[in-house]
Symmetry: C2
Subunit: 139 residues, 2 copies
């Protein structure tokens, strides 16, 4: 589930056109590495063909984020993109090694309810990033 084909199908259903550029960018995003910068994606796509402009990378990545397919996290200067799994979840971003842990979001239910009640704020639970320090980096 959620491999390149599935994402493309989702996009197709939402009236987006499927182009080889988009396929390659999505492929790159899904390929192993889980914290890619726009430049990283660009570099990886370049190994396949040089016929993709950096502007297209940025535009496609932004589109994927808007469609809830990818997430965008600002590590103070560095911006990383990662594919989003199914259902709401939290990204735990380690301040030291920049590793991103995908955590279950069940704990957020109570928080959501309280924000809704106290502030009238409808939080977007599908795209949450928390910063901190992971087990490995607690030196």
């Amino acid at each position: 589930m959620n491999d390149t084909e599935n994402i493309l199908e989702t996009l197709r259903q939402r009236q987006f056109r499927i182009t080889p550029q988009r396929e390659m960018i999505i492929d790159a995003l899904l390929s192993g590495e889980h914290h890619l910068s726009a430049e990283d994606v660009y570099a990886q796509v370049q190994t396949r063909t040089s016929a993709v402009n950096i502007a297209t990378i940025y535009r496609t990545l932004d589109m994927l984020v808007e469609q809830g397919i990818a997430s965008r996290t600002d590590l103070g200067g560095q911006v990383i993109y990662a594919p989003v799994g199914h259902g709401p979840h939290i990204h735990l971003v380690c301040r030291h090694c920049s590793f991103v842990i995908d955590a279950d979001a069940t704990v957020l239910a109570a928080l959501d309810e309280q924000l809704q009640r106290d502030y009238g704020f409808a939080a977007d639970l599908g795209h949450i990033s928390l910063f901190g320090v992971c087990t490995g980096c607690k030196e």
Copy 2:
């Protein structure tokens, strides 16, 4: 509490030098508007004196974020800075109007505990941003 003087005192204690540029940048950050871009801060400082370089604005803002005095939020393209109040709190960023609500972070205690237990992740509760839609924008 937490006016320009206090922040400067904190910086002084941490061995940072107090320069007129830093004073003005902090002043600008504290002045009313709660979602300033680096350019906004620059523009506001310019009204007082033109003797401040844009690079200094960026460097100072980054320093303030590192010191936990200001926060930095990426609104997908736009980056905004805001002063950080005392104690842990949440920033509720509206996806439509970009308004930032400062919410109390007491609800996060349970979440923190669970992340610690299940993932060994020490979340930094002082700098959290959640995206969503505020009351006013629920059209």
